[in-house]
Symmetry: C2
Subunit: 598 residues, 2 copies
């Protein structure tokens, strides 16, 4: 059976030693009192919940899956899932970073980030139920009417109800402009919604007495395409004026998808047969409202793969220390055993260190993004709020695509460490791979993320935000440029930042001539950008570790951190060389003739 | 439902136009009469078998899986599997490249290679039953006693019986030196075998009346380690002197593994409780005898991934032409539709072309290897036989590891082309990924292949065989060096060959100082070698295509082949730059301290 230990030490290192989050919180009025003890206590308790309550349900949930009762349209989730959710509610976890105005605890997103990383390590399929729900909370909090907020936010905050996002239809996923679900205005100001949705995560279940579906649909007079889409809140059970539940709304699960992984999550086909809903935000501005939820979800998906990377790493590491097979090439290491533990073999270590570096780099990036979100929401200085939002927007597609590509590779490598035993279900390793696979697809495929990054977030503002990230790198160079011990970490990042600036300008020119040049380069470009970001954070983490070691701190954590950073720059970062080359090869080899794909 | 069309045209191109196999066969006495018509007729019929008989059972076989009756120890394979096997036998397919002395058709391995590629595209799990059986045939043909040959070879040739290879035990896979299964000599010259084996592919089934298990075990006086392992033929039912079946031998399936994929294949735990077997080859030389089977199996595993790459590509291509979503960045392409087919998008094309290039490069390499095998077995000139065998030995780990790594990436990319629909079982795409995953693990993990390549096959003979491959590259440069049109294909290969020569020498020196340097570089090195080989074959294919186009041939096949070659050199080959860099980074970042993995 798989193991999992919450990586509290590394989270604390990133929060307290690298980013000094408590100092940052002091500048954010709602979080000014949040201290390190609170933070540490919350993540410790969160880790217990993840480890004790939902981790034991991960394999059983995968094996059992969800079932639909076609007569009642009700879905049965795997054994133990409902009880685990009840404990989650009882512990007040849904409220962690929700608005105190609706019963929330109002704690920073940084904490929510850590909590979700651990829950994703423990059980991604289960975690999607509260995860989607929190996205619905964010969307209604930002765009709901006062009445919608009054009805829904307290229930979503307490966890008594959950929420979903209903976007995809059979003929449209990426291209939501083509969606067909209709919304007809009713005399009482409500809307009657009709249509068919697919791939609705956590779309139906018996964990809560009600579910609020956020549904994209078209008004009768709506313009064609993506400018004619509106957003509606459509509850499973209508809500009476006194807040009690009314009649069942005809928004039914018609079938459950048979999937490669995340079997414990009910991925539903949702048939909407004249269900009554209310408009969220402005008519025809539904996509903008939904994007609040989408951006949160994209960070959330990156976090899913971060969680899987960590848990896969822990298991592969334990196996590699325990499993004996062959002798070390450089001589017998375990004289008392008939063979050496496989951790002595260089390539086994390379696979382990790859997963470790992806987990640690990803954690730093994800916590940094959560900090940006807290600042965007609560910093008293408008410019800081704006800058934080822009930087977060730049980093969001990187979190989504880079962390999920890395996470897939990491889970595959950790499975490989197990040899044939990794292919067997009981090891748990193959489930991590199957679960990680969806993260590269949903909430916008990783190709879409790359176009969002390069086309919109970078070329769309002439590289202004990228330059701001470049300034962070520049500041580090300024600060540590004379420190010889930092050279091995800073030099490659500074060089790549310089190359990227030139390359981005070049791509901007090329893209003006031929937009397919942007499409052809985007995926490689995003990976290069991911390494720029990881490289920067590894340099900052190395800076702290070097400082501690110089100050006489003998905690082996710092030596290990330095070695992971060195491994990262020696063995992973250099792929940027090839990526720049293939990106530069342009669109011609892809587009020149239709013959290629005959 | 997935589609599949046998790639007959490309197979014919490789066999007839690139390698001129018929001319090569003229030099091999048993194959001197094999002409192009025979070859084409056989692969056409083989393609029909794959498409009509076993392809329809691929998804159903995955869904149903195999079941063990614990009372009888009999295994039920998925519906239709037994009937498909009966048709396979009826068609005489098991005999295709078997020795005519035992009822075989004696056709070249080149044909068997094409047949198996198509069967693997259609149904990898099913194809493993005859595949393992053919391996057992090879082993007994090479190392069996006259009596073993007389008993087993006609039955394996006709397909009336099948065979397995029983190597792995719970505590040893890679490190067979630790195996514990015992063989006690009996008074009548037979051996009584006792032990437990796991991961035995096609280990039990009801397709045939008997199964011959080739079992590795230890004699009582055997030296410790891998030098004390012997090989035994242990039939499920004992065979009487007249060839009829005798009593059941106590070699039972104790359980079936629950796996990530290849559900249609019965991966068995085999309990051997004093079963009677006969010695194959010399006492304590079992590993050498088994290696005949292993080498065939390693080529076979590469071929499995080649098959999956092709079928995944075909399905992704069809989907990309059909599915409409978003408009082309460079302007509307399908004016009559609400969106453009996704094949207009550069990154979708990149994913498709990656799979296409991996399939076409892999096919050329695999057919080349089969040709080498035919020459090794049948060329009248001993030196040619020896050279062919050495070149095949060099290329075998590349076929196994490079084709299976590529195949996994290709199936993942082709699944990605389907977006969310690729994660749903009904598309068939996720099964290709799950099935492809095992190919990187079994028959020696890809790490083991890389050590075999770099440590044994290259540094082990001071790069002599690699130099011979370099001479092939040199000959092509000689031949086409003045042809400007070939420069784009030849130059990168020639440059890489040169770099590899230097790098190999460097690694040889480093390895002498510290053997871990070899282990640290091997996986990257194998991938570079894979590109050298692919690059060479793409250059040769481009040479033929250019010649045909220059001669006025208007078949669009040649233009498409050129474009795939150009894509390959522009977008895939450049990863060698990073791989050389990370390989050169050496073992220190992996080995320097134990802290890293704490």
């Amino acid at each position: 059976m798989p193991i999992y230990t919450p990586p509290l030490r590394d989270m604390q290192f990133v929060m307290h030693e690298v980013f000094n989050v408590v100092d940052e919180f002091k500048n954010l009025p709602p979080h000014a009192e949040v201290d390190a003890d609170t933070i540490n206590a919350v993540i410790e308790e969160g880790g217990k919940f993840a480890t004790d309550v939902i981790f034991p349900l991960n394999i059983s949930g995968d094996t059992e899956g969800c079932t639909l009762d076609k007569a009642t349209h009700e879905v049965k989730t795997p054994a133990g899932f409902n009880e685990a959710y009840a404990k989650y509610v009882e512990g007040g976890w849904p409220a962690l970073s929700c608005d105190t105005a609706y019963g929330g605890q109002g704690l920073p997103f940084v904490l929510n980030q850590c909590m979700y990383e651990m829950m994703n390590s423990a059980n991604q399929a289960w975690t999607m139920y509260p995860g989607l729900s929190h996205g619905a909370y964010e969307c209604l909090h930002a765009h709901g009417t006062d009445e919608q907020k009054k009805i829904y936010l307290p229930k979503l905050t307490s966890g008594e109800w959950t929420g979903t996002m209903c976007l995809t239809e059979p003929h449209c996923g990426t291209d939501l402009g083509m969606l067909r679900t209709k919304a007809e205005p009713q005399a009482d100001g409500s809307y009657k919604i009709t249509g068919n949705k697919i791939f609705i995560s956590a779309g139906e279940h018996g964990m809560t007495e009600n579910i609020v579906h956020l549904v994209l649909a078209r008004l009768p007079d709506a313009p064609v395409g993506s400018k004619g889409i509106s957003l509606f809140a459509v509850p499973k059970f209508k809500v009476n004026a006194d807040g009690s539940l009314g009649e069942r709304n005809p928004i039914f699960c018609g079938a459950l998808e048979h999937k490669m992984g995340i079997h414990g999550n009910a991925t539903a086909q949702i048939n909407i047969d004249g269900a009554i809903g209310s408009l969220v935000g402005q008519p025809n501005k539904g996509l903008a409202a939904m994007f609040v939820m989408m951006n949160a979800a994209r960070l959330g998906v990156g976090n899913q793969s971060l969680g899987l990377t960590e848990v896969a790493y822990q298991n592969a590491l334990a196996y590699a220390k325990d499993r004996i097979q062959m002798r070390s090439l450089s001589g017998v290491k375990a004289k008392d055993k008939p063979a050496d533990p496989i951790i002595v073999h260089p390539d086994v270590r390379k696979m382990l260190l790859t997963a470790k570096a992806y987990a640690e780099g990803g954690r730093a990036l994800a916590i940094y993004c959560a900090m940006l979100l807290d600042k965007e929401l609560h910093h008293p200085d408008e410019k800081v709020r704006k800058d934080s939002g822009e930087m977060l927007a730049l980093l969001t597609p990187i979190v989504k695509a880079f962390l999920t590509d890395n996470g897939f590779d990491a889970t595959v490598m950790c499975q490989q460490v197990f040899g044939g035993h990794g292919y067997i279900k009981e090891s748990g390793m193959e489930q991590f791979v199957r679960d990680a696979r969806i993260n590269m697809i949903y909430e916008g495929t990783n190709t879409i993320q790359s176009l969002d990054l390069l086309g919109r977030k970078i070329l769309g503002n002439n590289g202004a935000t990228l330059k701001k990230f470049g300034k962070l790198v520049g500041a580090l160079v300024q600060e540590e440029g004379v420190n010889e011990k930092m050279a091995e970490f800073i030099n490659p990042v500074a060089m790549l930042a310089d190359q990227m600036t030139k390359f981005t300008t070049e791509l901007g020119f090329r893209g003006m001539q031929n937009p397919d040049e942007v499409g052809a380069a985007a995926v490689d470009y995003l990976r290069v950008a991911g390494h720029l970001v990881f490289g920067y954070f590894f340099a900052r983490m190395a800076q702290v570790a070097l400082r501690e070691i110089a100050a006489g701190n003998t905690d082996p954590f710092y030596g290990a951190k330095l070695q992971t950073a060195r491994f990262y720059f020696a063995k992973l970062f250099p792929e940027t060389a090839s990526l720049m080359r293939t990106a530069r090869a342009g669109s011609k080899p892809l587009m020149e003739t239709d013959l290629a794909l005959a």
